[in-house]
Symmetry: C2
Subunit: 196 residues, 2 copies
């Protein structure tokens, strides 16, 4: 839709709808969308086996790792990092997770978003999307996934997960809902990259 | 400009321009603006002496306080709180600081914003606004004021200062500048309160 390169990174709490918001935002702007699909691309480029590494996606290595040999998580992280920067050299896209904001900081101009929502709203979303009938189970799953994401983010970057220090805007998706949040982020993204 | 009540609370890091943004946003929306000016109003209503309490504005009490007798800070805080809720019953406004978001949570519908900016940008703004010639001195002043604000906020509320848990949106004012930030907040505020 534009000659200018648009790169948007989205961090998100589990159950906040950040992934869906990113996907719809990419759609609106007519640009690429990267999430888990980066694994196969990164594996292809680096000779890793996609099936082997997929279990390490967005996870920090375990505790018992050699300080010298890179773990599968490390190899995947480095392959993804290299790929994300390569993509940033050549195209516009939205990337969800994968420390996109930290990896691209100082490398290219990005619009860095973090999406959150009150726990209650996230529990409802998770119950609906994953057919979980117990809100307690949904709450535990939210805590578990957020802990894994926080661990990954803080293992590989110098920033605190969900903190404003590495984001341009942090937004509660429950305020406007999924489409409403896409609306305001679209306004901001266009302003950010000087479109229209 | 509208029949609907619009209440916007703004927290801000020192030097982020949050105060100016709040003032301009209130102007744009044609609604009231409250900041330090609440002191006199609150003092008037509660029989406190404005000159006496002004030194306690947005400050937590010191360490050596009686657990039973309210301090000047406490009295001012309670008087301001009562006044802020009274205002919220009757009019639209933007309020900067004073735990507005926490005080009005669950009381009326609000749009809760926190404005931050990278330290470098804040240093530059403070040097310019307060005619400080040393960036080191500006940095120290930023740390000092933020510490006081954080102390006040965390003394009187259950939230962590600058954290997203009690805000709808947290925004880096250096991304769009003062007027640009007012632009996007105006879009969001109107959307939030269903205007236009």
């Amino acid at each position: 839709m534009s000659e200018k390169k648009i790169i948007i990174t989205i961090g998100r709490e589990f159950g906040s709808g950040g992934h869906e918001i990113g996907e719809k935002l990419a759609d609106r702007l007519g640009i690429g969308f990267y999430d888990k699909n980066l694994i196969e691309l990164a594996a292809d480029r680096s000779g890793l086996d996609a099936a082997t590494v997929s279990g390490s996606d967005e996870k920090a290595p375990g505790f018992f790792v050699s300080p010298y040999a890179p773990t599968v998580s490390d190899k995947l992280f480095f392959a993804q990092s290299e790929l994300i920067r390569h993509l940033a050299d050549t195209q516009s896209f939205v990337i969800v997770g994968r420390c996109g904001n930290a990896l691209l900081r100082g490398y290219v101009d990005t619009f860095d978003v973090f999406v959150f929502a009150p726990l209650e709203a996230r529990i409802n979303r998770i119950m609906e999307r994953y057919y979980i009938e117990s809100s307690e189970k949904a709450r535990r799953e939210i805590n578990r996934v957020d802990k894994v994401r926080r661990g990954y983010y803080q293992y590989y970057t110098e920033y605190k997960w969900g903190n404003h220090d590495a984001h341009d805007v942090i937004i509660d998706s429950s305020m406007f809902g999924i489409d409403g949040t896409v609306d305001v982020l679209e306004v901001m993204a266009k302003k950010r990259f000087g479109i229209e």
